[in-house]
């Protein structure tokens, strides 16, 4: 596609992008924090199981319900398991659920939306109907219904979370494609002999990616909250597996008697993860929003 030496051009483009990112991060310390926080959460998900000081499933009756100490940083639960190890290990499961759900939703939703927004007609009608139907439900409630009907398993949590995220991507892609459908550069590309599918894939879709990426970042946080919420009410993840939502649910029974650590630490971890995604999304939005750029 590119002229002269593609590698030099790509190189140039990457340097330019990095330069812009560095400039943007330096100008906005909050976004820098968000990036660091995001890396930290990601690091926990990747290396958590290796770093955990105890086996997250190992029960120990003698050490049940101990408050945080040097030995057990986050205390122990009613079965004497180490809360710190469990919180650390749970990061992987929670993030895996959220990432897979959002990736599935992004691929299906943005394809549906892009086609609907570009070609219009019956494809638009069909996509809009599907989205409207999904959005006619309070989304968390729909996810509950799906998991209850399809069977109580982690994979069904992923599918349910993906499904309730699809309309966001479909609507956004549809709108972003639709505003560009009659842009001058699209007509120009048509005059240059590009086929309709090529117009959509090469000329329009890449231009919609920046706002879509903002949505991905914001949705990741929401997806984790959803998955954790589902397991909090007893869907999906089963004990004794370590997962933040179910750990908070288990700790909830002890909070009225003062054993706060069992619920606090997994809850705080969950909050931190979601917070980092949302902060990152906000930062990306500032970068992408052309009004704020200059």
């Amino acid at each position: 596609m590119s002229q002269s030496s593609p590698s030099v051009q790509t190189g140039l483009r990457i340097t330019r992008a990095l330069g812009h990112a560095r400039y943007a991060l330096a100008a906005n310390p909050v976004t820098l924090c968000a990036v660091l926080l995001f890396m930290f959460v990601l690091g926990c998900a990747i290396f958590g199981p290796m770093l955990a000081p105890y086996d997250p499933l190992q029960t120990n009756g003698a050490m049940a319900l101990k408050a945080p100490s040097w030995q057990h940083w986050f205390g122990t639960d009613q079965l004497g398991r180490d809360v710190f190890s469990r919180v650390l290990v749970a990061a992987r499961l929670d993030l895996t659920i959220a990432f897979s759900a959002v990736i599935i939703a992004f691929i299906i939703g943005s394809t549906m939306g892009a086609v609907a927004g570009f070609f219009g007609g019956w494809s638009d009608l069909a996509v809009s109907r599907v989205c409207d139907t999904i959005m006619a439900f309070p989304l968390f409630v729909l996810a509950m219904g799906i998991v209850a009907a399809a069977g109580n398993s982690v994979i069904n949590i992923v599918y349910a979370t993906a499904l309730i995220n699809i309309p966001f991507y479909a609507r956004m892609a549809r709108a972003e494609v639709n505003v560009r459908r009659n842009a001058g550069f699209v007509h120009a590309a048509r005059l240059a002999g590009n086929s309709e599918w090529r117009l959509l894939a090469v000329h329009i879709f890449p231009n919609t990616l920046p706002p879509m990426m903002v949505q991905v970042s914001l949705n990741l946080g929401w997806a984790i909250l959803n998955a954790a919420g589902l397991s909090f009410i007893g869907l999906g993840v089963r004990p004794p597996d370590a997962e933040w939502g179910i750990m908070v649910a288990e700790g909830a029974n002890f909070i009225v008697s003062g054993e706060w650590w069992m619920a606090l630490f997994p809850g705080a971890a969950l909050m931190l993860a979601v917070f980092s995604f949302n902060l990152l999304g906000d930062g990306l939005r500032d970068l992408v929003d052309p009004q704020k750029r200059t």
Partner: protein
């Protein structure tokens, strides 16, 4: 004439809710009958043996072809029949109706609370972008959407009940020492006031505050964010410049000109807020043992009471469609441009 156009528009809005309702019926039908697995076994519950499963199958018509099943499903729904709960034996529709006021009271109170905080906050932030109010608003908004409701609820319980002892125990709508007020609206606070029973009113309100705060914290964020964004946009628009150049007072510019324009997009996002709220409602009701339809569903989930869960999903969806309809009607009445352009 203008009224004629508006009332026609409202009628067409009502008509537009029909496809949504149809979609809901189809989806819930798929959820109950058409998924892989044996629905008869689901309906019969985990304790059932082969004979009772077969009996259920026949009783529900699950052995007949899907279109026939769909027809009888729709007929049942039209008669208000959502099936029977296997754990209590009570009709699901009846149980939901009994518990609905509790959920509505909580949700509406929380919405009121969050709107009262979020809208002024958003306006204040928009009037002075990058000021400390704006930064505080931004922080609160980002933190607000990051809070898992069930976790905030527990934190509030721990602080206000266990440590400070200000709040009553998180066990339902009314402490056991009080009698429920005579039912008029089903909202304990309002019914107690109507009954001039102020002790009960205070007790009901005390129970309501923590769960409502939990829900409100969660919905604060989207409302404040949207108010701020659309207020900034309204204040930056050209008609505000005209108003300023005409020397109109700051009050008139901000409230009559900018605020009314800014509220229109906020009204449309209320639909999303309701969606979040009804979902979060389930979690909050579980944390506070609030006897609404959300905790009904959670209890049903625990005992695999299939008909109850699906009835709950359907009821929530219908409730949500009605709320959206209300938003649409409000919007149609508030914006002179709707349906007039082109």
């Amino acid at each position: 004439m203008a009224l004629g156009v508006k009332s026609r528009l409202i009628l067409s809005r009502l008509a537009q809710a029909l496809p949504a309702l149809a979609g809901i019926v189809v989806v819930t039908f798929i959820l109950t009958r058409a998924l892989p697995g044996d629905p008869a076994a689901y309906f019969a519950g985990p304790a059932a043996d082969a004979r009772s499963i077969a009996q259920i199958r026949e009783q529900l018509g699950l052995d007949r072809p899907l279109p026939v099943q769909f027809l009888s499903y729709v007929t049942d729904l039209l008669q208000g029949d959502l099936g029977r709960s296997i754990s209590t034996g009570q009709p699901v529709a009846e149980a939901l109706m009994q518990r609905l006021p509790a959920s509505l009271e909580l949700t509406l109170f929380a919405l009121l609370l969050s709107a009262l905080i979020a809208i002024p906050l958003g306006v204040a932030a928009a009037r002075r972008p990058d000021s400390w109010v704006d930064q505080a608003c931004r922080l609160l908004v980002t933190a607000g959407v990051s809070l898992p409701t069930f976790f905030t609820g527990l934190l509030l319980v721990y602080v206000f009940y266990f440590i400070l002892g200000w709040a009553p125990p998180p066990l339902g709508r009314l402490d056991l020492i009080y009698l429920s007020p005579p039912q008029v609206t089903g909202f304990f606070t309002i019914d107690a006031l109507l009954d001039r029973d102020f002790a009960t009113f205070r007790a009901a309100l005390a129970q309501l505050v923590l769960p409502a705060m939990t829900l409100a914290l969660f919905t604060l964020a989207p409302i404040a964010r949207m108010t701020r964004a659309s207020m900034i946009q309204a204040l930056g628009s050209e008609f505000i410049r005209t108003a300023r150049a005409s020397g109109l007072s700051e009050r008139r510019i901000v409230y009559t000109y900018a605020f009314r324009n800014a509220m229109l997009p906020v009204v449309t996002t209320l639909g999303m807020v309701f969606s979040f709220m009804l979902g979060a409602n389930v979690l909050v009701e579980k944390v506070f043992a609030w006897p609404g339809i959300g905790s009904f569903a959670v209890e049903a989930l625990v005992v695999s009471d299939y008909a109850a869960v699906q009835g709950f999903v359907l009821a929530m969806a219908v409730l949500f469609v009605l709320l959206n309809l209300l938003i649409d009607v409000v919007y149609t009445l508030a914006d002179p441009r709707v349906g007039m352009e082109g």
